[in-house]
Amino acid sequence: MDKQKTILVAEDDQLYASVYQNKLGKEGFNVVLAVNGVEALKKTKELKPDLVLLDLIMPEMDGFTALEKMKADPETKKIKVIVMSNLGQDSDIKRAKELGAEEYFVKASISIQDLVNKIRDYLK
């Protein structure tokens, strides 16, 4: 049996955080939560998760900054990051991709199941 995959979820909104935990947990992933950019960085460095789901609007340090730092750190730069945000401007998407995000999904525009499928694709 494959080792359980760890997903770090950086999300400050409780509404979403609980869905991630519930659904992703049910799908068999180990979900670790971070409520802001600083925590996200720290936990990523510590745990070296298999995937990071990164919100953009967060307190302390926003997603862009966290992403930039993550990719700059040799220990963490190889970890795949999927940006999850309700911002949807072309400039935001461009920026995230330039900073090294694998994907950018607008939370409201994707079904939870589709998200899970996409996650599985990335973790293959």
Partner: protein, 795 residues
């Protein structure tokens, strides 16, 4: 000073110069030498003569002195004085005679005799003399007064020339009582003369104090006088019977005569031209001792001269020979050296007459050779020049001919034009005044309008600006006119003010088409102020339709931009704020419906499904609002690439296949062969999706949708045709309006934002294409879009 030009070849000039200078030198040398030689020779000759003369006089003097010495003794001989005292003396007394005769032994005088106080010869060794009175003789008249005397005379009795020495005879008291005479033979004297050196040099004359020549080796000079004798002397000689029977004629030695007459003791030398002998002579006069006897020697200077001439001749000859040799050598060398000149001359002449291919070879190893080389090079370049020149001349001549004929034509036109112009000028001045008024009016208008206006010429140089433009650029009219427009009006992109806006004026001038600036363009003023502007640039045409310039009008739309930006921000924030809860709701509902949070009863599940649908609608609405806003703002940036349209359409159709099959509508694709186009694939997909989804949505079960793609006349044409519910006639005009839904739409599709066609139209027109909508209520709808194949405007 006049310039003298002598035409003479170089050799000639040089030879002449050499000859001239050498001749001058030679002549000077000759003159100098001959002078020096001559004078030294004649000096030495003079010296020789003088010495010889001196010696000879000395010798002669010795001989004569002998006579004198002897004569002096005679009065002192024993008995002589007493005899003469005796008044009763016996003539020819034997005792005294013996005495005198004995005295004469060895002396060999011609005669010794005694004269009494009257001059009568009382005693003589030559008896022929006895009894004769010689009182007329100077030797008597002198001696009787106490003066011993010497003279040379011819004996009156003997007819023999001799030297007479007389002495006074005195008694014991000293009274003069008689005269003793000794006559000496001149022969010994003459003999010494004959043997002298003088005779070798020239001629001599022994001369007495009268100047009469008594001995000489000169022909026909004996018993002549040196010069003319005075009449006194002549008569005296006569009376004295000194030279009886001899005719004395003068020679022309006047100077010598004078010298003798003055009895100068010093030797005198002078030069003299002898008419008789016909040559130049040197005359030397020496007194012989203290005696009234002179030695005159005469040396022919011609002999001296001839020696000098001889020497001079030799020198001259030598000089001439060496000069000739020298000149000859010089001429030879010169000829050799200068011969190349003739060659060069010939060569130059040949080249001048056009023969550039003439050759010249000089190997003299000197400047001539290098000159030849230089001239050869010159000829080569001359040749080139000449041919180039010919060509140029030909061309120029042709041009000139053409120009001349043009000029002729123009002249005629000019005349006519002149007349017309004069007429026009009168009218013009009227018009000018009118124009000035009009111009002022326009200027006032321009200055008053709030938008910035500037005009450029064909090359983009600013011709004029108005007040508003100047305010926005920050530069005055003076600072703006004449400059390239982008140096004055700095158009930039709002997002990055360092990014220079493309040269739209150039495009207008080139294409002659109106250009509008993209949204979010700014102008940066001189002071760095950034002003949002909207503008349009239009071409200015002349009467023939040619673009002669461009006019740009731009307005400060800062306020509008501000408004837009705040609307933008509002939209962004709002949509984000709305999406957040909506998204959360969606996922939760999904989980519920999936059964992830426990199984729901069937009815609850149904209701949840309805809630989910509503949630999805709201999410879609928010998305559409954002989208539309972005399109409105022009914020949608195209990312064009080469797109294979059939692929895009197929993809869209596949996406809609689920919905289509659910509605029991069939989608058919008729995709012709079209070239790939450069377009944003996402946008084109969106357009296709909108159109096809409309065709599916507003349809009945069993309905058909066909998508046709083809290229016609450089246009890409896509049609979406359905046989669905169609559009009521009244709604047709407003179908492309924002949020507009046809009145019958809600029956088919409760969800529908009314934005689909609005977005499609916006995109298609943005690409420079056209959209066409045809519909029949209840029958169906057909919508056609056409895009220019080559000129898609990607924004």
């Amino acid at each position: 000073m006049a310039r003298i030009n002598i035409r003479l070849p170089i050799i000639g000039k040089i030879t002449l110069t050499i000859l001239l200078s050498v001749t001058v030198v030679g002549v000077a040398t000759v003159l100098f030498v001959s002078n020096k030689v001559g004078s030294s020779l004649s000096d030495s000759k003079k010296e020789t003569i003088a010495l010889a003369n001196l010696e000879q006089s000395h010798e002669t003097s010795q001989v004569v002195s002998f006579g004198r010495g002897a004569a002096d003794l005679v009065p002192t001989l024993p008995g002589v004085s007493a005899y003469m005292e005796n008044k009763n003396r016996i003539v020819q007394d034997k005792t005294i005679l013996k005495t005198l005769t004995n005295f004469n032994i060895g002396r060999n005088f011609l005669s010794i005799y005694l004269l009494d106080a009257s001059g009568l010869t009382v005693l003589s060794t030559d008896p022929t003399l006895t009894g004769n009175n010689f009182g007329f003789r100077d030797y008597f008249s002198q001696a009787i007064t106490g003066q011993k005397f010497m003279e040379i005379a011819v004996g009156t009795i003997t007819n023999q020339i001799g030297i007479y020495f007389s002495n006074p005879i005195t008694d014991s008291l000293g009274k003069i009582i008689g005269v003793s005479v000794v006559k000496m033979d001149t022969q010994p004297v003459f003999q010494t003369m004959m043997a002298s050196y003088i005779t070798r040099l020239g001629k001599y004359m022994l001369v007495n104090s009268d100047g009469i020549i008594i001995n000489t080796n000169k022909e026909d000079a004996l018993f002549k006088s040196l010069g003319v004798l005075s009449s006194d002397v002549k008569s005296h000689i006569q009376t004295e019977r000194r030279y009886v029977g001899i005719d004395i004629s003068p020679l022309d030695y006047d100077v010598a005569q004078k010298t003798v007459e003055t009895m100068s003791p010093k030797p005198v030398v002078y030069e003299f031209y002898d008419d008789l002998d016909k040559n130049d002579e040197l005359i030397q006069v020496n007194e012989i001792g203290d005696f009234p006897l002179y030695l005159v020697s005469e040396v022919n200077t011609r002999s001296v001269d001839s020696v000098v001439s001889g020497i001079v001749g030799v020198v001259i000859l030598f000089i001439i020979v060496s000069i000739s040799l020298g000149v000859f050598v010089v001429i030879l060398v010169l000829r050799k050296t200068l011969s190349p000149l003739a060659k060069l001359n010939k060569y130059a002449k040949s080249v001048t007459s056009g023969n550039y291919n003439e050759q010249i070879e000089i190997k003299s190893g000197d400047e001539m050779e290098s000159l030849a080389g230089s001239i050869r090079e010159m000829v080569v370049s001359l040749k080139g020049l000449s041919s180039g020149l010919e060509k140029t001349v030909e061309e120029k001549t042709k041009q000139l001919e053409e120009t001349l004929s043009d000029v002729e034509n123009n002249n005629i036109d000019l005349e006519n034009t002149k007349r017309a112009v004069l007429n026009v000028m009168e009218d013009l001045s009227e018009e000018k005044d009118k124009m000035t008024i009009e111009k002022n009016r326009l200027e006032t208008i321009l200055a008053s309008i709030g938008d910035g206006v500037f005009v450029v010429n064909r090359t983009g140089m600013i011709l004029m600006t108005n007040g508003a433009a100047q305010r926005m650029s920050g530069l005055t009219e003076f600072e703006s006119v004449g400059k390239y427009y982008s140096d004055v009006f700095k158009f930039r992109v709002e997002d990055d003010t360092n990014k220079i806006y493309p040269d739209f004026v150039k495009t207008v001038l080139k294409t002659g088409e109106v250009q509008s600036l993209r949204n979010h363009t700014v102008i940066v003023s001189k002071s760095g102020m950034v002003i949002s502007v909207l503008d349009s640039a239009a071409p200015i045409r002349d009467v023939n339709g040619n673009v002669t310039g461009c006019v740009v009008v731009f307005r400060d739309n800062t306020k509008e931009r501000e408004l837009e930006k705040s609307k933008d921000d509002f939209m962004s924030v709002t949509s984000h704020q709305l999406r957040t809860p909506l998204g959360g709701m969606r996922w939760n509902l999904e989980m519920m419906l999936e059964g992830d949070v426990g199984e729901l009863p069937a009815e609850a599940k149904r209701v949840a499904g309805e809630v989910y649908k509503g949630n999805l609608r709201m999410i879609q609405l928010v998305n559409d609002l954002l989208n539309v806003n972005r399109i409105d703002q022009g914020r949608v940036m195209d990312e064009p690439s080469m797109v294979q349209l059939p692929e895009v359409i197929q993809d869209a159709a596949k996406e809609l296949s689920f919905e289509a099959s659910a509605k029991k509508v069939d989608i058919k694709l008729t995709l012709g062969k079209v070239p790939n186009i450069f377009i944003d694939p996402k946008r084109f997909r969106e357009v296709t999706m909108n159109l096809v989804s409309n065709a599916v949505k507003y349809n009945k079960p069993g309905g058909k949708v066909e998508v046709v793609l083809k290229s016609v006349d450089k246009q890409l044409v896509m049609s979406v045709v359905d046989n669905g519910v169609g559009i009521p006639k009244n709604d047709m005009p407003k179908m492309f309006g924002k949020f507009y839904r046809a009145s019958n739409a809600v029956h088919s599709e409760t969800e529908g934002s009314g934005l689909g066609l609005y977005v499609v139209k916006k995109f298609v027109e943005g690409w420079g294409g056209k959209i066409d909508l045809v519909s029949n209520e209840g029958k169906g709808t057909s919508i056609t879009i056409s895009l220019p194949l080559e000129k898609i405007k990607n924004n």
